[in-house]
Each structure stands twice: as C-alpha cells, then as structure tokens.
C-alpha cells in the first residue's frame, strides 16, 4: 500500500471528523485518563499520523529517557506499516523521522517559560517548522492557570497545534464517568478539545469521549477507541 492510501484509510480520519476536521493550529487539545490507560500510545499515534502526512512534530517529554520515546514511535510505525503492508517501509520511516524532534527535560519542575523558550529556539534557530507539539506527561493538573495561558498564547503566536497527555499527580483525585479528573476542570476554559480515556471491561476497549469541543461541552463517545492490545487508535 502507498502512503496516500494508508492516510485515507487511517482511523485518525474518523478521529478528525469527530472534531470537525481536527484540532487546528493555535489550539490546545488534552487527552486525560488514569495512569496506564494508553495516553502516550494515543499521543504517538496522533503524531505518527501527522508525520505520515508530512507534518513536522516536536514531541516534548519529561521522562529523562529519550530512547523510550523513540521506541514508542518505532513500535507504532511498525504496527501501522505491517498492518497496511506499507511499501518501502524502511525508506518511509527514515524520511518521516527527519520531521520529528524529541525534546526532553529531565530536570524536575522545569518551568513553563524554560520549556517554551527551548521550543522557540528549536523552531527559530534550528529552522524546524513545527506543525504540532505533543506534550507527553506534562503535569498540567498542578500547573497554574497562568502557565496554561502562556502555552495557549505560544500555540497561537507560533501557529502550532498543541496536544497534551495528562495524568493527575495526586492519588486521591476523583474521576468522572468519562475518565476526566476533577483537577483539570480549572482550565477547561483554556482548553479547546478535551478527550477522556476510560477502559471498558465488557468491550475490552478504551473508550474515547469527546468531553469538550470548542465552546460545546456535551460529552459524547467518539467513533474511535483505543485497542488495549496494540495500543493503537482504531475504528
């Protein structure tokens, strides 16, 4: 199969459709769930889909282990290319790799200003025209409202789409039926798209609920779910 066809058949088209054409530049999208549900996989799948469509991605991680992140991408790419029998997969992988940079902050409690300034350095001095930035494991639930506002402003100024994967830091956080922790609600007004992930045992799937889309707050299940075995988004 060739890339064009692979992109047309991607379950991510249904994902974008649920969002009326995708998140869009200048906007903040947030994936929330409890720990260990598959947010990173989901985020990497979103990013890989963008890479397949020639977009430039910065993946921001706070884990201290870049290799780990790179392996996630390798694995997601391998699964997609094998499922779809992608032609000349090794060459495609090398090509799309050039459009992804992993930016890693191993220091605990690095400030939002520092992260944003490094991102801007990469984009401007490194001439890396990012289309989207994926924040993996950022502690958004303990960030201040001001921090989130700065990120939103950054997204608008540099015309990038920004995605977050968020897990609550405190163990006593309450989750609602859609897997959304109460602590995130403080910033709801700054978030453009909020998606809750929750494991459903009877279906053996991770249900993705679109909790907020633009100004509409009307939780409804998306057409896509997350397969807990492959950790990929599927229809």
């Amino acid at each position: 199969m060739e890339i064009q066809e692979l992109n047309a058949l991607s379950p991510l088209r249904a994902f974008d459709e649920s969002l009326n054409g995708g998140l869009g530049k200048g906007n903040l999208g947030v994936l929330v769930s409890r720990h260990g549900i598959g947010k990173t996989a989901c985020l990497v799948h979103l990013a890989t889909d963008k890479l397949f469509r020639n977009e430039h991605i910065i993946h921001v991680s706070f884990s201290g282990n870049v290799e780990h992140v790179i392996n996630w991408y390798k694995e997601v790419f391998r699964q997609i290319s094998e499922n779809r029998s992608l032609e000349d997969a090794a060459t495609v992988y090398n090509e799309i790799l050039a459009n992804r940079v992993v930016m890693n902050f191993s220091q605990e409690n690095v400030s939002v200003e520092k992260v944003l300034s490094s991102l801007e350095t990469l984009i401007r001095q490194g001439s890396f025209n990012a289309d989207a930035i994926m924040f993996d494991g950022y502690k958004l639930t303990v960030a201040t409202e001001d921090d989130v506002r700065k990120i939103k402003q950054f997204a608008m100024d540099l015309r990038v789409e920004v995605w977050f994967s968020v897990s609550p830091v405190r163990p006593d956080v309450q989750f609602d039926d859609n897997g959304v922790p109460s602590t995130i609600l403080r910033y709801e007004s700054l978030i453009d798209v909020l998606i809750g992930l929750k494991y459903n045992e009877t279906m053996d799937k991770v249900i993705m609920t679109l909790v907020k889309d633009g100004e509409t707050i009307d939780p409804k299940p998306m057409r896509v779910t997350l397969d807990p075995k492959t950790m990929l988004i599927s229809e």
Partner: protein, 699 residues
C-alpha cells in the same frame, strides 16, 4: 585460594576527560608499582605512566591500551587503560573483549555523557560486569547522587550507592562506607594512610537512610540477605556476597566515589575490584571450533586443558613486535608450541613477558586467565593461538567499516620507506585502519573511523617513524546503489585470431530491500535447462562482483544490489570462464544507468553536549550541515543534542563548535547509517568526479 580465583582482569572505561588516566596512575601508585605520582599533562615533564606514547602525553589523551599488572592485597590485577575518544572505539571494544570486569569512570560534574553511553553499550554487548566510580568529587558543582540517578535513568543500570561523600567540592574529605558504616579519611601527602572513624554526627541520619536503600536494592540479588534483613541479622559478609553475586550477574552496579586527583577513594575502589568483579573462572568465554562447522565451544579456565589464547593487541617496540595475549584456557610456558589458527603457522613461545606501562619483566610461565605479552610472533590483532591439538578461533570481533579516507604522499624516498613500515604496523594493530594504493591516481590512501583517527596516525608516522607526508583533503567513503530494477541482455563476442570468446548473459539487477540484515550484494542463479552451463555460473557471479567494486557515478562500491541471471547462451568451443566474467561485467556496465543509480553517504550519529545557553547555536550549526535533530535533552544548565549529520558536512566541526560555544561544548560521533545524497549534492559530486577523471586521463 588458588592463583586463578584471585586474579582480576579489569578495564577502566570512561568519557574523555573524566580522569581515567589519573585514576590508573593512582592505582599503580597504591599498588606500589611506581614510586611517584606523575600527572597527565604534568609539570614535571614526565607524564602519566600509562600514556606511553609521546603524542598522548602532549594531547593529554590516551590512544592505545596499555596493559599493566598490579597487585592489591595479594590479588594480581591486570589493568587495561582504554582510550576514551569515540574514534578509537575499536580499542575499547578489543579491550572489553579480554576483560572480565570494568570500572566505569564518571565525572561527578558532567555525569553520564554521550561517550559514557557508548562505552556502556559496548560493555553490555560483551556482558562485562562493572562498578562505577564517580570521580572528581572535589570539583565545583560535584553531585555524585545526581550522577548515580543518571546511571539509572540514562543507562538503565541498577546503580547502588555503597558510599556517600563526606563534604563535596573543595571540602571533600573522604567517604562514608555504607556497609561497615564507617567514615574513611585519606591521610598523608598522597592519601596513603587510611583513617577509619565514626560517621560525623550530622551525616548519621542520611547515612542510615542511604544504607537502607542500599540494602533494599542489594537484597533483591540474594535470598539469604533478604531473610537476614527480616530477622535483623544482617552481617557485612552477607552484604559483600550479595553485591558480588549481583554484580557478576549484571543485575546491579555498585557505585563508589572519590577524587583520583586528590587521592581520595582509590583504595576502597581497589577493594571493590577484588571484592565484586569476577575472576576468570566466573566468566563464560566461547570459541568457534573450525573443524566442526564453527560450532561454539565453551572454554574452561583450567590450566590442565590445552591452551586457547587470544592475541588482542600488537605493539612494535624497540625489541621487535610485542603481542598482548589473554589466556582463556590452559596455561603458557616458555618453549610451548602454539598454532595461529588463521595462518595455520606453528611457532614456539620464545620470550614471554608481563607488562608494566612502559617497562616489562620476563616471566617463565603465564597462568590461565592471565594477560601477558609475547615477543616476535608473526600475527595480526585478533588472531587466536591454540595448542596444536585444537583448531579453535575466538569469536570474531565486531569491526565497523571505515567511513573516511585520506590520500598521503611521502615527501622523499626515505619517508616513503618509513611510511610503508608505519602503515604495515598500524594496519596490523588496528582493524578499523586500512590502507591501499589507488590504481588510478597511484596515491596511497588511508581509511579510518574519523578525522581525528587519521590525524593521529599521520602524526604518529611523523614522530615515531620519521615519515614526512603531505596529506590531501579527507574524503568521504561514499557508496553507490540502484533505485529500480532493470533488465540486461548482453552478448560478449570476440573473434580476432586464435581461440575466440563467446558468452551471452541475460537477467536483471534490482535493489535489495532495506532492512537490518540486508546484504550488500547477492547473486541469484535462475538459469533453466543449462543455457549457461553450471561451470560458468560462478564466472557470472565473479564478473558482477568485480563490476560492483566500482560504480560509474563516483567510482565507489555499489551496495544493496541483487544480480539475477535467468537466460544466456554459450558456445562449445569459444565459451570460457573469462568470457562469462567479461560478459557479466559488461552487462552490468551497460544496465547500470537504466537502474537509476544513486549515491549514498555515511551519516553520523552526532551527540553535542554543552550549556543550555548555547542550545540555539548548536541547533543552528546542525541545521546548516544538512543535519536532522533527533532529540534534545535538557538537564538543568546542560543540554545534549543528538542528531544525524552527513559525514561530509562534519569536517572541521570541532573548530566551529568551539567558537560557537566559547569552547564549552563538545561532541562525539559514530557511524549511524548510509543514506541517499540529495540530488543537488550528488550533481556536484558527479561533476567533481568527472573533472578529476578528465585530469587524470590528461596526465
């Protein structure tokens, strides 16, 4: 205890400038092998004992491994000082191969750097148990606890602190041993006198916490210790045993610390070497049995068995060629007969010596497991020597292919002779260093792993061999490849008196799919009905093999190509081996352009480390060099940028980086892969190649 279980073969591996040569020096001093301490780049003009080459003294780096034998508390220890720069990793790999354990030296300020990661990966490959020594705890900004955490995060090691520092930076006084719960101070002008005291009152609480952490981690390696902990009956001996077990099984890495320069923490490190690193009988080594289809055989460190010995390093000394050996099985006596498995040559062991960095002592016998050196043995690095009853070869070591070449011209006849001598020795010593004479330009070409690698050899030629040479610009080792399938049908016919030549070959060439174990060249015989007789099939193969040695784009080897022959014709009288070879070669030349050939270039994995304030400059410098930034990691004030950059763009990068970052950043690189050259660049390369050919033909 028998001799062999006391023996230790250890290496000291580290990032450049983390102080491993100073550390080696201190080890030699405390084990009473040298009488005074000389500093690297020392003011006394003597230089550290381990750096025996003049050049190393000047540059302050260690190029070749020097093996030396020391003794600590009645344990013989062979120490191999390994080079730190990535250009010389073959040396590091070779020494890791013959070691049973290693000390990983880290700088307490810089922590785990890219080179530490490379070295650690190599240690993992050869399954070398290791202990970590966090050096330079006297430096400003020292933070051994952070470095220990990096060992866990960045290298994925189960690092366990066995000590904590008493004071840091300029107030470093000693260490607290978390096993004996004693404070150790190093008194006297050279730290010779160990003074054991109670742990300072203000540190007791921290020490107790760290001891608990240590016990928790260590107890996972020992049920006995775990039970004793539950019963609160832990003894020091149990802890030692558990750490030893875990270290040898590669389940944990004990972390010690100090400052070699300030003579602190070295003796406990030596205790740890004999306490936790394995003796030769505790490590499994295998060889390949050549008489039995290269089946792997496990070698036993038993002196009664026939000898199996690896020659891992050559050196030309004043008295002839010196071969460093490691005895894996059996033992070696003067006068013993050995066979070189590769050359099948028999020889008698003449002079057998044990090495100290630049002096030696004659010995009559070398024990099983030992490292020694032989004189005057005709061999190459990596050769195996066996007792005549065996035909074993030690598993071949991983040797990367050279990525850079440089043409060198001697200035006069005398230099030419000396240059030949030097090259002969260097190529024997270092498998990543090649040399050949280019038949077209008639120039001598040397090939290696990087700019610095070749520079060092050129300088060594000048200094050690008095060979004055003029060097050209270094050249990248490009490759050619085809991008699509193309068919050929070629008839080779020649009837000019005498016996004629006739051969027809038809088929196609196609690219081999990229992949991890993709072959460089493949020949497929799909001839049916004997239209080409089977005796001429290998001739076709040979013809293609000759053809792919040199593509027509830039004259570099063609790789990733499959040649398939599915039709042809022969003549009962005029066909011959030569005719089919020529037919295949010509068929290839004719079809090559139709298969849309492309040029591949070596792309290096480059890792730049420096202060965060220069991150923008680093990004920019990579971007200007057609580089791809893979990742950037920030850790406080330091950042590491990993990128892939074509080698051709990396010439002179060290100078550029220095000026961009006020000398505060450094970089390492190694070959990542071969990638297609962008069209604009390949057009330039082709034009330059044509120009060069025209000039040569015009001569």
């Amino acid at each position: 205890m028998s001799e062999i279980t006391k023996m230790r073969n250890i290496g000291i591996s580290a990032h450049i400038d983390s102080g491993k040569t100073t550390l080696s020096e201190r080890i030699l001093y405390y084990s009473n092998r040298i009488h005074a301490i000389h500093e690297v780049r020392g003011k006394d003009g003597v230089g550290a004992t381990m750096d025996s080459m003049e050049l190393e003294r000047e540059r302050g780096i260690t190029i070749a491994s020097a093996a030396t034998n020391v003794s600590w508390k009645d344990h013989p220890i062979n120490v191999i000082d390994t080079p730190g720069h990535v250009d010389f990793t073959i040396e590091v790999e070779r020494s890791l191969r013959v070691l049973d354990g290693a000390i990983l030296v880290l700088c307490s300020v810089a922590g785990v750097q890219s080179q530490s990661i490379t070295v650690d990966r190599q240690m993992k490959r050869y399954r070398v148990p290791r202990i970590a020594f966090i050096n330079k705890c006297d430096r400003t900004g020292a933070n051994p606890i952070r470095v220990k955490q990096q060992l866990i995060d960045k290298l994925g090691l189960n690092a366990v602190l066995l000590q904590i520092p008493i004071g840091l930076e300029d107030r470093l006084q000693g260490v607290v041993d978390l096993i004996t719960m004693k404070a150790i101070y190093f008194d006297g002008p050279s730290g010779d006198i160990l003074r054991y005291e109670d742990i300072p009152a203000e540190m007791q609480e921290d020490a107790a916490v760290k001891r608990e952490e240590m016990l928790d981690a260590v107890s996972l390696c020992s049920d006995e210790l775990m039970e004793a902990m539950l019963e609160e009956a832990v003894t020091e001996d149990m802890i030692y045993k558990a750490i030893r077990k875990g270290t040898i099984a590669l389940e944990l890495v004990p972390v010690l610390m100090g400052s070699a320069y300030k003579n602190k923490g070295i003796q406990p490190l030596l205790d740890a070497v004999i306490g936790y690193l394995p003796n030769p009988t505790e490590v499994t080594n295998t060889a390949l049995d050549i008489d039995n289809e290269e089946q792997a055989v496990v070698l036993k460190a038993d002196e009664k068995l026939p000898a199996v010995i690896l020659g891992f390093k050559l050196e030309d000394g004043q008295y002839g060629q010196l071969t460093y050996i490691r005895i894996y099985q059996g033992k070696l006596k003067k006068g013993d007969e050995l066979v070189n498995t590769r050359s099948r040559k028999k020889f008698k062991v003449g002079r057998l010596v044990r090495m100290h960095a630049s002096s030696m002592e004659d010995i009559v016998e070398a024990e099983c497991g030992d490292i020694a050196a032989l004189f005057g043995v005709e061999c190459a690095s990596g050769d195996t020597f066996c007792h005549p009853s065996l035909n074993y070869s030690m598993t071949s070591m991983y040797v990367p292919k050279p990525v850079i070449s440089l043409s060198i011209n001697p200035i006069d006849k005398k230099s030419a002779d000396n240059m030949a001598k030097a090259l002969n020795r260097f190529t024997k010593e270092d498998p990543t260093f090649n040399t050949y004479v280019d038949p077209e330009s008639n120039q001598t070409i040397i090939q290696g792993m990087g700019e610095l690698h070749l520079e060092v050899y050129v300088e060594r030629m000048r200094r050690e061999y008095k060979a004055e040479v003029v060097t050209d610009r270094p050249e990248v080792a490009y490759r050619e490849a085809i991008s699509q399938r193309a068919e050929f049908n070629y008839t080779h016919k020649k009837q000019t008196g005498g016996s004629g030549q006739y051969a027809r070959v038809a088929g196609y060439i196609e690219p081999i799919e990229e992949g991890e174990d993709a072959k460089e060249y493949e020949f497929v015989d799909m001839i049916k009905g004997g239209v080409i007789p089977s005796e001429y099939i290998p001739s076709c193969d040979k013809g293609f093999q000759n053809a792919v040695k040199k593509g027509t784009q830039l004259g570099f080897p063609v790789v990733g190509i499959r040649a398939v022959v599915n039709d042809g014709a022969y003549h009962a009288v005029d066909s011959s081996d030569q005719a089919f070879q020529t037919a295949a070669l010509s068929a290839f030349r004719e079809v090559y352009d139709r298969a849309k050939p492309v040029i591949l270039e070596p792309v290096m994995k480059v890792s730049v480390e420096g202060p965060t304030e220069f991150q923008g400059n680093i990004f920019g410098s990579i971007n200007q060099r057609r580089g791809i930034i893979i990742s950037s990691t920030e850790d406080g004030a330091a950042c590491t940028v990993d990128a892939e950059v074509p080698l051709s763009e990396m010439f002179g990068y060290s100078t550029v980086l220095r000026s961009l970052t006020q000398g505060k950043a450094e970089f390492t690189m190694e070959l990542a892969k071969y990638s297609r050259v962008p069209t604009s660049v390949s057009e330039e390369l082709k034009a330059a190649y044509q120009e060069k050919r025209r000039k040569e033909q015009g001569k």
